[in-house]
């Protein structure tokens, strides 16, 4: 029995009929759907316990603070962080990457280099360009090899004592490639570079253990892992996080303020100015509880099976190309594909007519698209509620596409 038989009924949105068909939602890598427990936890919070956190000396304020900080503890356990101080709430992966890039950028000197990869999402490219700008800092990039994995031979050439940052995705949002985080982080450390990992496509699908990954920073989003939009996590290894000078000021991130200066608060609050996403933290707690009840090892196994099924079945359809590592290799829960003679947006629009939701376009990874010489792809991605039948429905619809336009 596959995992979806246990989970499917927990997601109210999956009851929707789209264009006359049962919704087949294959766009969880963009944003996952939410189980009833997440939706209810958030409305329950608003209905019974909402107030601002940390400074409200009244019952509701205390309840809200307790819930918000309990979310931090939950995240700490979920990702195997050494302490709760290492867990900073952000607005999402993009926000976390910008926070780190902005803070690290201010420490860079002319001649320094930032190393990224050709398979990054724009959110792990553009913040580094901004950090490098006007500072005489160069952004370089590790190329992708033909099999959709990073060209690690090129890493030797590119990594040098000038490298101050190595930033890369744990799992590619297009290819599904799982990058060797521990190996890359260790290489970065050898040259004294800080390692920054975009975990947006990994946290929802793989068991995580920050103590074993060996990177300095790791960031992910709530909304891709069954939780709400508007919240994410930045994890930083104690001393690495401690070294980040805050770049955004406001309430809560200070201990004392004078007109001409201020003294920063302790971690993690120092990096959380303003009213945080409180209801979203409550929702994230419920999402993590849901995932933990299923077991992340089981989640990973289920989604890997769906990705493998898709990566095997789609190339057998005439005119269909699948990108990324071969089906036999471990991959994330995404499969990008194209249909000869059809633009990816037309593929997505035609599949939508069948109630099938897939992503299409450049997936915010234009450098990677240029590597393959294409403008975009369609992409099917999976979560705990998808079934082998969903993949069959997709394959059947894709096989019928070329006669449609």
């Amino acid at each position: 029995m596959t995992l979806d038989t246990r989970t499917r009924g927990d997601f109210p949105i999956l009851e929707r009929i789209v264009n006359g068909h049962r919704l087949v939602y294959l766009d969880s890598a963009a944003s996952s759907q939410k189980p009833r427990t997440v939706i209810e936890a958030m409305s329950q919070y608003y209905a019974t316990s909402h107030a601002n956190v940390h400074r409200s000396i009244h019952t509701l304020g205390e309840e809200a603070t307790a819930l918000y900080e309990a979310a931090r503890d939950r995240v700490q356990r979920f990702i195997g962080a050494a302490s709760r101080e290492e867990v900073v709430f952000t607005r999402g992966t993009t926000d976390g990457l910008n926070l780190v890039a902005d803070a690290l950028g201010r420490t860079l000197r002319p001649g320094d280099e930032i190393l990224i990869t050709d398979m990054e999402h724009h959110s792990n490219i553009v913040p580094w360009q901004m950090a490098a700008r006007d500072r005489g800092v160069t952004v370089r990039s590790i190329p992708v090899a033909g099999d959709g994995r990073l060209d690690l031979d090129a890493l030797d050439r590119l990594l040098s004592p000038r490298t101050r940052v190595l930033a890369f995705a744990h799992v590619s949002n297009v290819l599904g490639t799982v990058n060797p985080v521990a190996q890359l982080s260790a290489r970065a450390r050898q040259v004294g570079a800080v390692s920054v990992v975009d975990g947006a496509q990994a946290a929802p699908h793989l068991p995580l253990d920050m103590s074993g990954l060996g990177c300095d920073f790791y960031t992910f989003s709530g909304h891709k892992m069954l939780g709400p939009t508007g919240i994410g996590v930045l994890w930083g290894r104690g001393e690495a996080l401690e070294a980040l000078e805050p770049t955004r000021g406001g309430g809560e991130m200070i201990k004392e303020v004078w007109i001409d200066h201020a003294r920063w608060n302790d971690l993690p609050w120092r990096l959380e100015p303003g009213t945080p996403p409180i209801a979203e933290a409550v929702g994230l707690t419920a999402a993590i509880e849901y995932l933990e009840k299923l077991g992340m090892a089981r989640v990973a196994e289920h989604e890997r099976a769906l990705a493998r099924q898709t990566a095997e079945i789609l190339p057998s359809i005439p005119g269909v190309t699948v990108y990324g590592p071969p089906a036999s290799v471990e991959r994330g829960a995404v499969v990008a594909f194209s249909v000869q003679g059809l633009h990816p947006h037309d593929v997505a629009a035609l599949l939508d007519q069948e109630g099938i939701a897939v992503r299409a376009g450049h997936h915010c990874a234009q450098p990677l698209m240029r590597f393959y010489g294409i403008t975009g792809t369609a992409r099917a991605s999976f979560s705990v509620y998808n079934s082998p039948e969903d993949v069959s429905i997709l394959a059947h619809a894709v096989a019928a596409l070329r006669t449609q336009l």
Binding site: G20, A349, L405
Partner: protein
Amino acid sequence: MTPAARTGLYSETIRERWRQPRFRGELPGATAQAEDVNPLCGDRVRMMVRVHDGAVDAVRFTGDSCAICAASADVTAELSEGRPAAAAARLTTEDVLAVLQADIRPTRMRCVALPVSVLQEALRS
């Protein structure tokens, strides 16, 4: 595929223009051209025009785009060719939509609008 797909978003006109465009190709002797992308999807359209004595003598387009955008470019070229340049520059997305006869959703409206705005830019240059 459901009948809705055939008559809805992808009208007969769009499918026909996508399969057999009349104005796709290079334009030797073009007097003006412009190119732009759709930031949503990275679609790229180049419109080339040849203006002679204040009239649009010929229009061609190239690019890598979806069927809706390509059909729009083809219709945009057809509607502007042979017209006074000033009139062609006033062509609107609505004019193109009237020819396409398709149920274009808001998320895809930019696909229709892109060739029109690129043509306007070419005629301004």
